[in-house]
Amino acid sequence: MGRMLISGVLGKSVLEQSGDVIGRLGDLVARLDDDSRPVVTGIVVRVARKRDLFVSAAEVADFAESGIRLTSSRLDVRPFARRDGEVLLRRDLLDREIVDLTRGRLARVNDLVLGSDGDGWRVVAVDFGANALVNRLGLGWLARKRLTDRQVPWEQVDIFASDAPVRLPGIRHGKLARLHPSDLAHIVDELPYPQGDEVVASLDDARAADAVEEMDPRIQAVLLTSMDQERAADILEEMGDAAAADVLADLDPDRAEELLQKMDAEDAAAVRNLLTYDESSAGGIMTTELVAMSSDVTVAAALEQLRLAEWLPESFDAIYVVNSTADGDFLGVTTLGALVAAGPEAPIGTLAKQSPTATPYEDAREVAQRLVRYRLSAMPVVEVSGTLLGIITIADAVELLLPEEPKLHIPRIFG
């Protein structure tokens, strides 16, 4: 199987069978169908300034360093025009930042590896290595040993349709969607908006919500305000209520209200409730996604309810018990394990254990530190009057306490 680097042939002379030079190789056209390797369907020959001709791949006899030889002299040439479903390997792919799935992050394309299996050329791999960069500069002799070669097979990269000015329905980001939401969020954080929008648009609501939760707050705001507002509301519904409230709190109040109205009423009410708390207070980081039960419910009835539940919180193990009397005050916590071990007729109130609690007005950091110190998996947030409002999970506490990653922001002062 023949292999070649695209940088080795770009700019080389294109010769007719007779040996006459008709122009230079400006670009290669490839068809993007699905996830399979793109097939080179033709070449773009630059015959004069701003004059490009298209030559079908069938008429290319050979790619070589010395030049590209065509099979015939009577060329069926036509002016080159862009078409949907086709990428230009140099213009749309070379030198772009695409996703290196092997590392789960963005990388710049320093070269493309083409392979031939007899019936045509395909893009088989992408070279992200510094060696490829140095070679293209003609400085390969300089540091060949010390620099890295990084050729990643085509199956392990993901490219963006919005990098090309034509429609590319073949790009569906199926592989990208399988990355961990945190990696996905990080990639979208770093992508320019058109490409970031493209990725989020390709995800289903649940995956998109998982990823948006992990994104930089500023990117969240830009993404959600620039996309279709119905879709934005759908994504917010899928997000945890605390995360959704965080996002909405950063938006322009009118924009946030508009989104809240488009959301499912029940979800919107939960988010509105959280929005009333200051962001730096315990109320500002709590979630209302918890299971609360009345103290007079029996163990058997509780287990039955859990089995029938259409929805349970993520990493669910605690059941918050509230008084069966009219005031409904918070009583204590019991675990799923305790529930399973207890006799079926016992009222759940007898299993409830006292737990340290926080009020919603306390400083969020202090509460988070207390939570970590007590080694709790979650801390109930209880109103002074005794009403259970929500919980702060260990995950949210840790996120708050971890030092912020330093970031480069060109200061806003310029411009």
Partner: protein, 444 residues
């Protein structure tokens, strides 16, 4: 929480919560005097617009006013439109593509052109970093601090703050200090210039084929339309999260900011012309330049000037190395950013450290006139500018890249005209100042 039959968490009614929110908002929006409100609204924008006026700009405009009176004011009027056009193109590219300038150059022109463009940027920006350290040295010499002490300390402090990622915390302080330069507006009025003369000079282009005059023209262009500002404005638009749908409001800000920045420096020229030029004082050192503020601050003029110069220099000396290293790494696809450590992003760290070290070392070469150094760097910027403009203009006219947002024929014409005029200016300068002396010729 949606367990059938269980008690949900929405234990408090929404009405109750809404009432509490309204109360909290009332507390937050305690009425302030309208003056404070207006200042809070407009102030940051004005200061921001003025932030591009760094050490080199102050030195160049002071020198222009002191040496040539009002007769270089026309350059500022003439550069206003090109400045707006170029800043607008970069801001637009940032908003539409969401990419930085270095990114676009790499994607559109390939590795070789990128290397060329990045070398130009690196030289221009490294030069500007030198000028910022010269500004720090000059500012602190007003307070009798030796440059051999101030520059190494400042360089280390900046490097340390940058590497720790805590520079942004002190940035505002420096930015606030640059507000001092608004005192020039007051100084210009207090010096009671002949405003008729000023107005006529501002709209009357004059040109002299002499080295000193030409240098200042090139330096004024170089400090007004700096290569690094093109880089910055595009990144800042991307960073602010402005996309194509939000761009129109941003454009007004760009236009207004450019005009405002040019207006402020015109007052520097007017103030120095009305005080120093009339008295026949040329600007050879920072304390000469500071005297232009005497109408406002009297004996404290040099304190005021020193503070402003120090703030402006520290601001740019921190931002430039980082932004340049970031742009270069972005273009070549190297790991970058302060969230990576040295082992992960060696090129990034080496680049910004080297720029700081080089800037500090050059400033400390014994016997250098700091003011001359500051102006020389602006000249270099002016000479490198045409190259950057060609890249910017080609990108901004690219329909495949920007679609309907690409330059139309009129804008294209103006943009290319600017590149050509700036190029001719650079060529003239090189001919008169470099080539002709070699052959023993001069036109004075």
């Amino acid at each position: 929480m949606r367990l059938p039959g269980s008690i949900g968490p929405g234990l408090r009614t929404y009405a109750e919560a809404a009432a509490r929110k309204r109360a909290a908002e009332r507390r937050r929006r305690r009425p302030r005097s309208s003056f404070v409100r207006i200042l809070a609204l407009v102030g940051p924008g004005l200061i921001a617009a003025n932030a591009g006026n760094d050490a080199g700009a102050i030195a160049t405009h002071s020198s222009a006013g002191a040496s040539y009176g009002y007769s270089l004011l026309w350059v500022m009027v003439a550069t206003s439109l090109p400045l707006i056009i170029i800043q607008e193109m970069c801001a637009r590219m940032g908003a539409v593509t969401g990419k930085g300038l270095a990114d676009l150059i790499r994607e559109r022109f390939g590795v070789r052109w990128t290397t060329f463009a990045m070398l130009i940027l690196l030289v221009a920006n490294a030069g500007t970093v030198v000028s910022e350290f010269a500004g720090i040295a000059a500012a602190l010499e007003l307070f009798d601090v030796s440059r051999y002490f101030s520059v190494p300390v400042a360089a280390f402090a900046i490097w340390w703050l940058l590497a720790r990622g805590s520079y942004r915390h002190v940035e505002r302080v420096f930015l606030g200090m640059t507000a001092v330069f608004f005192a020039y507006v007051l100084a210009a009025f207090l010096a009671q210039p002949n405003w008729g003369e000023v107005a006529i000079a501002a709209v009357t282009p004059t040109f002299r084929f002499e080295a000193g005059y030409l240098s200042l023209v090139v330096a004024l262009v170089g400090t007004t339309i700096t290569p690094y500002m093109q880089l910055f404005i595009q990144s800042s638009v991307v960073d602010k999260g402005i996309d194509a749908t939000h761009y129109r409001a941003e454009r007004a800000e760009v236009v207004f900011g450019s005009l405002f920045a040019n207006l402020v420096v015109m007052f520097i020229q007017i103030a120095t012309a009305a005080t120093l030029f009339i008295a026949g004082i040329r600007v050879d050192a920072a304390d000469d330049a500071a005297r232009a503020l005497a109408p406002v601050a009297g004996p404290f003029a040099s304190v005021l000037f020193g503070l402003g110069l120090f703030g402006a220099s520290m601001l740019a000396a921190g931002v430039l190395p980082l932004a340049t290293a970031f742009a270069v790494c972005e273009a070549f696809g190297f790991e970058r950013g302060l969230s990576r450590d040295f082992d992960e992003a060696p090129v990034f760290y080496v680049l910004f450290t080297a720029m700081i070290v080089a800037g500090a070392v050059v400033t400390l070469i014994p016997g250098l006139s700091l003011i001359q150094l500051l102006i020389a760097v602006q000249v270099a910027n002016g000479l490198l500018l045409p190259v950057v403009l060609v890249f910017v203009t080609r990108l901004a006219g690219d329909r495949e890249l920007l679609g309907t947002w690409a330059n139309g024929p009129i804008l294209s014409f103006f943009a290319w005209s600017t590149a050509v005029v700036v190029g001719l200016l650079a060529l003239t300068y090189v001919t008169v100042v470099v080539v002709m002396p070699i052959f023993g010729m001069s036109i004075v």
